[in-house]
């Protein structure tokens, strides 16, 4: 028997039906802890809604923004959430294309996280604009004024990139869910759930024709989502990079932002998956190998991000550009030095603790590091946005920005909003990808039987094959028959 650190699924999972059993367990009656968490999330959403109403009534002045610093917490949080939304598609699409089998048991969580993160991010452009009731001016729709939006504006690229990303990742998420919803439908006992799953599964039955087109479509979606995931944060980075603000106008921004996004996204996956694994007893599916792979991803992206930080400072010095140099000096020694150093420490230094096996394999440490990286990545966006604006070209207009209670409320509410959706997802949709985990399980074979197929040699997993699980019996139990 192989060591546990390199198994994708714990050997205790003996067959296809076990996967169903474990996945369906997530959908059963919630405990008080879950309800408390959900209640807390919903309250935070309520708080944010109140803050936003307040801001709508009185104006953007309720934020801490001022004339040189036109963007602050809202855009920081927008970029933060868009960044979080990257790990999901990375894990589900890019690792799918790379045939990284370890993605199967984790990708559904990551993908759900992506969809909800982008859903959260998408709120912020609306919250941050001065006249949200005119948001539709940004959409290219025919109107009697004969005026169209300006396609030269990076903000319009953003509108397209974020909506495209939201649409494509939702579609990708949903398409991947169809077979699993069908499984949930087949296992459901509560009538309304059964009905709902029946509709959502679109009548999926797992026929050969369905699978044939499904696998192809999924592959193409993955192939489309891959450049998209790289592009969306590039486009977000161009919001900054194509401007002329010192500290923003940098060619390194696109790759730097993508790496940062993956870093923060992976950290968020860890932040979510560690407690989920614990609470729902998914140790069999989320094995140390998964965490080992995630740790490597974190290390890689942290190194890229750290390199980007260094490069920015090098270029600021090497270019001799006065404004650039001032901004970068200001980041570490000016009024926002605490944010600057938090960013460098949290993103560029702390993750390197993962080189140590002891840290990497201790989920508590890992969880803490992931939280630190999350905070650091929020600070990274803050440091890019706020000090650069507060310390731009005109020496006369250098005014500092301080977050207001309205912004703090909306920032907290964004976490509430995100976790609300995520918690609901955990209860109502299969969090484990049932069909795809089965792909990495050995198929049930009547081992002793002579077949005309080529020999199925699975020496290492012989024992599993030899003890087939009573699939139908289990299912009947589940259906309450």
């Amino acid at each position: 028997m192989a060591s546990t650190s390199d198994t994708l699924v714990h050997p205790d999972v003996r067959g296809y039906a076990d996967v169903n059993r474990d996945a369906m367990r997530l959908l059963t009656r919630p405990g008080p802890g879950y309800l408390a968490l959900l209640g807390m999330s919903v309250s935070l959403v309520g708080l944010a809604a109140f803050c936003w109403m307040w801001q709508l009534a009185y104006g953007m002045g309720m934020s801490g923004l001022n004339n040189p610093v036109g963007w602050g917490t809202y855009i920081t949080t927008f970029v933060f959430w868009v960044g979080i939304g990257h790990a999901g598609t990375l894990i589900s699409a890019i690792l799918f294309l790379f045939r990284a089998a370890w993605r199967q048991s984790i990708y559904r969580f990551a993908e759900a996280m992506t969809v909800f993160a982008v859903l959260t991010a998408g709120l912020f452009p609306i919250i941050h604009i001065g006249r949200p009731w005119l948001f539709y001016y940004l959409l290219p729709y025919p109107n009697q004024r004969q005026i169209w939006p300006n396609f030269r504006s990076p903000l319009l690229w953003d509108v397209f990139a974020v909506t495209t990303y939201l649409t494509v990742s939702s579609v990708f998420f949903f398409i991947g869910l169809i077979p699993d919803i069908a499984a949930a439908r087949d296992a459901a006992v509560v009538p309304w759930r059964k009905k709902a799953y029946s509709v959502l599964s679109l009548g999926w039955r797992g026929t050969d024709r369905e699978w044939k087109h499904f696998t192809r479509a999924y592959l193409f979606l993955a192939a489309l989502a891959t450049p998209l995931v790289l592009s969306v944060h590039s486009v977000v980075s161009w919001d900054f990079a194509v401007s002329i603000v010192p500290g923003w106008h940098t060619t390194i921004f696109a790759p730097y932002f993508v790496a940062g996004a993956i870093l923060s996204g992976v950290a968020m996956v860890i932040t979510i998956v560690v407690p989920v694994r614990k609470i729902f007893h998914l140790e069999a599916y989320l094995t140390p190998m998964h965490f080992d792979r995630l740790a490597k991803l974190l290390l890689l992206t942290s190194t890229i991000v750290g390199y980007a930080y260094g490069m920015e400072y090098f270029m600021a010095w090497y270019s001799g550009e006065l404004y650039e140099r001032d901004v970068f000096l200001d980041r570490v020694s000016g009024d926002y030095w605490w944010a600057g150093w938090s960013m460098i420490t949290f993103n560029g230094i702390v993750p390197h603790l993962l080189w140590f096996r002891r840290v990497r394999e201790n989920l508590n440490y890992f969880f803490i590091i992931s939280i630190i990286v999350n905070i650091g990545m929020w600070y990274e966006r803050f440091v890019i946005i706020v000090p650069s604006l507060a310390h731009s070209y005109m020496p006369w207009q250098m005014v500092n920005y301080h977050m207001s209670w309205v912004e703090a409320g909306i920032l907290m509410g964004s976490f509430g909003w995100f976790f609300m959706w995520f918690l609901l997802f955990l209860r109502f949709l299969p969090g484990l990808s049932i069909a795809e985990i089965k792909e990495v399980l050995p198929p049930p074979m009547r081992g002793t039987r002579e077949t005309r197929l080529h020999a199925q040699q699975v020496p290492e997993r012989q024992e599993i094959v030899e003890q087939p699980a009573p699939a139908t019996a289990h299912l009947k139990r589940a259906q309450g028959e």
Partner: protein
């Protein structure tokens, strides 16, 4: 809806007389159209009507044109044919409409009975009450116990008050701070100007006129560069504009004047004043050697008990005796004594708020309380009016008929521009009706019910309708504005720059900056032309009184107190105008509050930092005021600006700042002039931080070469090299490109640096066509005195909201145009605290640059920011969704976001310009180059079927600037004023390396000594200096002249 009701009442009132057409009244959900009952012949609805009048916000008496829309005065501008204003106005004048519509004005006559709330009464009742009380006193034989404390009326009102007072047997006492100062100095062509604390750019004399003359005197554009020396213990705005600051030991300023005049020994003067002997010697030499030298003083900052001696010395320097300055305080001091003794039964007050402005040591307030009948004629509920038992609010000057004689040759007329906003009554009319009640036949002969207007008309000699009409149209009678080049723009093409005028008439190598370029100034009547021949100097009387002041206060009172008038609030009378409160002080850049200026070394010694509250104690009182650490003040002096600290003056001044007059004593110079500079105070830090003091901006330029300067010698040498300018090239920029090439590296793409060349190659798409208009502006930093009149004019013209002190502290002020003030040029913030920091101060008007390649435009997702075919960077408010990306991407940070829907407290909203949209929350806004004026000009031109001439359009800032810093026009036309001005060798554009192609060309400030340079200066434009030095020597343009020698550090700053 009290608001709606008031508005409708107003409409009713004005429309009966035929003065309004449309105004929105949404109270019943529909827009209403309110027509006239009887139409006025002069008014076409929708077309503004202009009235001539005279500004009465200060004694200067600037001519004014008032724009009215449907019977509402909305904007004031200078009267271009009046010689005092020359079409310009200061910030106070611009803000006068806010006084007119001030929501806290007294709205009608009130009587206050002991222990009761003020009661509103009718005018008839008020006048009868007053007449009855006077009669009672007269019949009791105590008519002499009635006193009338008035401002210094000069015209008809002066006569009326005198007649009236004489008729009732009362007496009149005149009190008018800062009134008695010379307003007829002529120094536009002087090459040496020395001021002994006379802040003539702010309040002293005639600031608008003097600012223009000052700019002319130092304008290299018209071929002269006079030197200005400031002698005073601190530097207010005027002092900051000086080429040299001499800060003698407090109280010894007169000795400096005498030393320059040669009436005292230089060495002994040096010893007493603390100014180095060679400095005094040099000043004397420069003064005497100048072709025309003018001295000014004393100002408030130097008005101690030696003021008479100082004035005598100044007169000696000018070779001409002048009227006593500072008024005569002795009758007033006597009156206060009598009031305190209960000998005054009735005091009528039409002077400007004496309770606030008089020194605390005089005890006027307590004395006033002892007078049983106190009558105020104040328009505002100020401290004096609040203490009075009968309040008879006068019309605002924009509502009244009056006249005023600011200087002998100008007799200015004040005419109403609209119906009174409130139930006020002209004081003249009140006096006349009281006279009628009292049957004073000397005042109202025949008792025929004549109004003050008739009285005034009589005083002007009646005249036929047409003659009177002409006088009203002109706004009085006065000589013509002297001919000659008025603005830099006009002369830019006419007068060749220095280089083409090689040493004209100055064979001896004297700098031709001395060449007179403003001929015809002598055309004015009664002009003071100080010619200072030595013989005349000796003929003048010698000084009266000691040349050295004495100071009250001893013990730990180590600091001399300077209480100086405010550019914005004058003596405090304009302090309740929101525009002026929001306008930061030109020197300290502090809005909305008071401060005490403290030298950095003193601050260090006291252990206080900027913003810490100081307790300042004098023998007469104490105030708590935040410290402002500023090297422009002597170490042993603390300076506080007057104007704020009102106990009553309406909502905007509530709890704002302190009243430094409370610290002063009732000291007067031997001539009776008030001597505020005669108190020593103790200063202590309290360790408390002020939440009020907020200094806008940065004191140093961080090496960024935003506000550039060039020394006169360097400029002249460079001019000699480059020669006559071809419009369309800016040498500094070409030099930069050359420098880059010389250093290898990237080959820069050559972009045309001249806005006239807009659009640059590669950007000419769409509707842009050759030959079309390209609006542009030239800003001459050298002329800019930093006052901020343009800022207030911009507020008035463009409906810019006042956001209040809390929002200003958050960096949310909306001033489309701001004046940046830099003490230093490098990254080192300490540079602004060094003693020489104020020796090279740069003022920079910063507004939307209307860039050709505007970075704000392409980032707007909805085309709210875009470029118009005539080169404006337009902002379409109704399209804006408020992403604020444009403001982020604006390198000049001149875009302002509406964080809230700002309110204009009724009736201030009647001032709103109907031609400009009022912006709501969530919308970005910025300078439009006054596009409404461009459109109006365009419309008028096209109605006449002709193309628009660029001289027809003048943005509000350009229009009002007293120093005529701005030139606006179509730069695509090479013959336009703006194109010619832009062709100067001093021209540069800010942040040009960003290739934004701004439409605003700045002209470098010209300094007499070598200007400060940032660390990047050599890269930016050092090549020019090199070229200048090399070629300057080779071309043999000769010595740069005595004025061009590097100057020593200001003697005073280092001498204590």
């Amino acid at each position: 809806m009290s608001d709606g009701m008031k508005r409708r009442d107003f409409l009713k009132t004005v429309s009966v007389g035929g003065a309004t057409l449309t105004a929105a009244c949404k109270s019943d959900g529909v827009e209403r159209l309110i027509p006239y009952v009887v139409p006025s012949e002069e008014i076409v609805p929708g077309v503004p009507t202009w009235y001539s009048t005279t500004c009465r916000e200060c004694p200067a008496g600037c001519g004014m044109h008032v724009e009215t829309h449907e019977g509402r005065a909305t904007k004031v501008e200078g009267n271009p044919i009046q010689p005092i204003s020359r079409g310009n106005l200061c910030a106070r004048g611009q803000a006068s409409v806010q006084g007119l519509y001030h929501p806290d004005r007294l709205q009608g006559p009130q009587v206050v009975e002991e222990g009761l709330e003020p009661r509103n009464i009718t005018w008839g009742g008020a006048e009868q009450t007053l007449a009855r009380r006077i009669r009672e006193l007269q019949s009791a034989g105590r008519g002499a116990s009635i006193a009338f404390l008035t401002e210094r009326y000069t015209g008809t009102m002066d006569r009326l008050v005198d007649d009236w007072v004489r008729a009732i047997g009362a007496r009149r006492v005149v009190y008018d701070p800062y009134q008695d100062q010379p307003r007829n100095l002529q120094f536009a062509d002087a090459d040496f100007l020395i001021s002994f604390g006379a802040d003539f750019l702010e309040t002293w004399g005639s600031p608008v006129d003097y600012a223009w003359q000052f700019a002319q005197m130092r304008s290299p554009m018209i071929g002269q560069r006079g030197k200005f020396v400031w002698v005073a213990p601190h530097q207010p705005l005027t002092g900051l504009n000086a080429d040299e600051w001499v800060a003698p030991r407090p109280g010894t300023e007169a000795l400096v004047a005498q030393a320059i005049a040669g009436t005292v020994d230089v060495n002994s003067a040096a010893q007493q004043t603390g100014v180095q002997a060679q400095v005094l010697q040099r000043l004397a030499t420069e003064f005497r050697g100048a072709r025309k030298a003018v001295a000014m003083g004393p100002g408030q900052a130097t008005a101690g008990s030696n003021a008479s001696a100082l004035q005598a010395a100044v007169d000696r320097l000018n070779g001409r005796a002048s009227a006593p300055q500072g008024g005569d305080m002795r009758p007033l001091i006597q009156l206060v004594q009598q009031m305190r003794a209960g000998q005054v039964q009735m005091l009528l007050i039409s002077a400007h708020n004496p309770v606030y402005t008089l020194p605390g040591g005089l005890g006027f307030e307590a004395a006033l309380r002892r007078v049983p009948d106190r009558v105020s004629f104040s328009t505002f509920p100020d401290e004096t009016a609040m203490l009075c038992t009968l309040r008879l609010p006068d019309h605002h000057f924009l509502e009244q008929w009056n006249d005023y004689v600011p200087r002998p040759d100008v007799r200015a007329l004040v005419q109403p521009t609209m119906r009174p906003v409130f139930n006020t009554k002209q004081t003249g009319d009140v006096l006349l009706s009281v006279a009628r009640y009292l049957r004073l036949n000397t005042v109202t002969p025949g008792n025929n019910g004549a109004t003050y207007y008739d009285y005034l008309r009589n005083a002007w000699g009646g005249g036929t309708g047409d003659a009177w009409r002409e006088i009203v149209k002109r706004g009085g009678s006065y000589p013509a504005v002297p001919a000659g080049p008025n603005t830099a723009a006009e002369v830019a093409g006419a007068v060749p720059p220095f280089a083409t005028q090689p040493a004209s008439g100055t064979a001896a190598g004297t700098a031709n900056v001395n060449a007179p370029a403003v001929p015809g100034l002598e055309g004015t009547q009664q002009v003071v032309t100080p010619t200072s021949p030595p013989s005349l100097v000796t003929a003048l009387p010698v000084a009266t009184g000691s040349p050295v002041s004495t100071f009250e206060g001893g013990g730990d009172a180590r600091f001399h107190l300077v209480v100086y008038p405010s550019y914005r609030f004058f003596d405090g009378r304009t302090a309740n105008r929101p525009w002026l409160l929001e306008l930061p002080d030109p020197v300290t850049k502090v809005p909305w509050t008071s401060w005490a200026e403290l030298h950095p070394a003193s601050a260090k010694e006291l252990g206080v930092r900027q913003g810490e509250i100081l307790e300042i104690r004098s023998p007469f009182g104490a105030v708590r005021v935040p410290a402002y650490v500023y090297p422009g003040v002597r170490r042993d002096v603390v300076a506080i600006q007057t104007g704020l600290g009102h106990k009553a003056f309406g909502r905007y001044t509530e709890n704002r700042g302190v009243n430094p007059n409370l610290l002063l004593g009732p000291t007067a110079a031997p001539t009776g002039a008030f001597a505020p500079y005669s108190v020593r105070v103790s200063v202590q830090g309290t360790g408390e931080k002020s939440g009020e003091l907020y200094e806008q901006g940065n004191r140093v330029q961080l090496d960024r070469e935003i506000a550039q300067a060039v020394s006169l010698s360097e400029m002249r040498a460079f001019d000699a090299v480059v020669g006559a300018k071809v419009p369309g090239t800016i040498p500094g920029q070409n030099m930069q490109v050359e420098t880059l090439r010389g250093h290898g590296g990237f080959q820069p793409v050559e972009t045309p640096t001249d806005p006239a060349a807009y659009p640059p190659p590669g950007t000419e798409y769409g509707q842009y066509t050759e030959g079309k208009t390209r609006w542009a502006m030239v800003i001459d930093n050298d002329r800019c005195i930093g006052c901020g009149a343009c800022v207030t004019a911009c507020y008035a013209e463009n409906n810019i909201p006042v956001v209040g002190p809390d929002q200003v502290r958050k960096g949310r002020e909306m001033s489309w145009l701001r004046i940046e003030r830099y003490f230093g040029v490098t990254q080192d913030q300490e540079e602004a605290l060094r003693d020489d920091a104020t020796s090279d101060v740069r003022f920079l008007p910063m507004l939307c640059q209307h860039c050709g390649n505007a970075p704000c435009e392409p980032v707007c997702p909805v085309y709210a920011a875009y470029h118009t075919p005539d080169g404006l960077n337009a902002q379409v408010y109704n399209r804006c969704v408020g992403t604020r990306y444009c403001a982020n991407n604006c390198p000049y940070k001149v875009r302002y976001f509406n964080w809230f829907t700002y309110q204009f407290a009724a009736p201030l909203h009647w001032q709103l310009n109907p031609d400009v949209t009022v912006r709501e929350k969530g919308v970005m806004e910025k300078c439009t180059f006054c596009v409404q004026r461009i459109n109006e000009g365009q419309r008028n031109a096209s109605l006449e079927g002709r193309p628009l001439n660029d001289s027809e359009v003048t943005p509000a800032c350009v229009q009002t600037c007293p120093a005529e810093v701005f030139v606006f026009g179509n730069i695509a036309d090479p013959n336009s004023a703006v194109a010619r001005a832009a062709a100067s060798n001093r021209s540069y554009r800010i942040l040009e390396a960003q290739n934004t192609q701004p439409a605003i060309v700045y002209l470098q400030k010209v300094t007499l000594r070598e200007p400060k340079k940032g660390h990047h200066a050599d890269e930016m434009y050092g090549k020019r200096g090199e070229a200048g030095r090399e070629h300057g020597g080779a071309a043999g343009t000769g010595s740069t002249g005595s004025q061009l020698e590097p100057h020593r550090a200001p003697a005073g700053a280092g001498s204590h």
